[in-house]
């Protein structure tokens, strides 16, 4: 691997790491509940019940855990938080290994294939948006910049993974 390519991969990994961190804690979506013609009633009878709710990816996962979906919360935690972070670490490991001439670990190859699963959270958010928009009453979901940061992190991670995969010497 050339020094230029290693620097490129290192820069992309830094971008992916920062955007992943921001994507996990930044505002991800705002749910604005509405109940059609009953909205005014509910606002009178239960003030605050229809207040918009803001979620980040992490707070959304925690809300799922608290509201009876610990299994889904654990799945999202693994594939949206733990796995992307480990994947970046492994790719940084692989980049440094190739740049320094140390034999890269098989984990680098594994992350290349498992990387596709990190989009799971984005897919779940997409499903939520479709589901909530499909509800009667005009409820709205407004996506925040956290989702885009997370998506950028995943895409950049995939690019790094592809570049890294192509950088491996023949026979290694």
């Amino acid at each position: 691997m050339t020094g230029g390519r290693a620097a490129l991969l290192g820069g992309l990994l830094a971008v992916a790491a920062v955007t992943l961190g921001l994507g996990l804690v930044g505002p991800c979506m705002t749910v604005i509940p509405k109940l059609g013609e009953l909205t005014g009633w509910v606002e009178i009878l239960r003030p605050g019940e229809l207040d918009p709710t803001h979620y980040s990816l992490l707070s959304g996962i925690n809300a799922m855990r608290l509201h009876g979906s610990p299994g889904l919360a654990a799945l999202l935690l693994v594939f949206s938080v733990v796995f992307p972070a480990l994947k970046l670490a492994v790719m940084a490991w692989g980049t440094a290994a190739l740049a320094l001439g140390v034999r890269p670990h098989a984990a680098v190859a594994v992350t290349h294939h498992l990387g596709k699963f990190s989009m799971l959270d984005v897919m779940v958010i997409g499903l939520l948006v479709i589901a909530i928009k499909g509800l009667p009453g005009g409820s709205e979901v407004v996506l925040g910049w956290g989702v885009y940061c997370f998506a950028v992190s995943v895409v950049v991670g995939l690019v790094v993974s592809i570049l890294l995969h192509g950088s491996r010497p023949r026979g290694a």
């Binding site: 691997m1 961190g21 921001l22 804690v25």
Partner: protein
């Protein structure tokens, strides 16, 4: 490629550089995690508090407009949302003598010398609340099967605002033998604000009302807006 050359020579020549290289490789693996942690820390410590403060300021600036005075010639719903009385009756006597409980409050609205509304009684409390709407659920469910939203706004009076006219709110404590006067307030109709009007009073020989929140809403609004206006905190 440099990588292949290193692979082929390093095991046999010098194990120490190879060990150092592995150490650097492991350290490199930590860098993304550190960057992630730094981004999270920076957001939570610096960025988010600033963004929250800006949002709060924006909300304060873009909040509801200042309430306006009612317009003469228009019709308004008028109702008391909150009443609070002092711990003793006008003149200092005990509420509910013999019973030992707090007063059972209700009120009358008097306009043009006539009673235009009498509220339900709120039992045993120094603070009484009335909702702006009431729904006969039984009638809604087994009656006609439909519910007209406008008809649920039945917890107050409708008055036509004219300059010089007044609205009197008379508060009573209901007891088994009748009613006891708890205080009364006379308000100039054309000085009322649309929305909430909060008044506080000193206790006197004829007055035990401590606080009153009066809701005033234009009847010409669409029902949905009316519900919003009445439901505003």
């Amino acid at each position: 490629m440099p990588y292949r050359e290193t692979l082929s020579t390093s095991p046999s020549t010098s194990p120490r550089p190879r060990t150092r290289g592995r150490l650097l490789v492991w350290l490199a693996a930590l860098l993304p995690l550190l960057l992630m942690a730094a981004a999270v820390y920076g957001y939570l410590v610096w960025w988010k508090p600033d963004a929250d403060a800006a949002a709060a300021q924006h909300t304060a600036v873009a909040g509801p407009p200042a309430p306006s005075v009612v317009t003469p010639g228009r019709d308004y719903y008028v109702l008391v949302r909150t009443l609070e009385v002092y711990p003793t009756q006008p003149g200092g006597g005990e509420w509910d003598r013999g019973g030992g409980s707090a007063p059972d409050l209700w009120y009358q609205l008097v306009w043009q010398g006539k009673t235009v509304y009498e509220s339900d009684t709120r039992d045993d409390g120094f603070v009484a609340l009335w909702d702006p709407i009431s729904v006969d659920v039984r009638e809604a469910l087994i009656g006609s099967g439909t519910l007209e939203l406008g008809s649920t706004l039945n917890q107050g009076a409708i008055v036509n605002v004219e300059p010089g006219q007044s609205l009197e709110v008379i508060v009573y404590d209901s007891d088994p033998l009748g009613r006891e006067h708890a205080g009364s307030v006379t308000l100039a109709l054309d000085a009322l604000l649309e929305g909430e009007n909060t008044f506080t009073f000193e206790q006197s020989q004829t007055q035990a009302v401590k606080r009153m929140v009066l809701l005033v809403t234009d009847t010409d609004q669409p029902v949905a807006n009316l519900l919003d206006a009445l439901g505003a905190p």
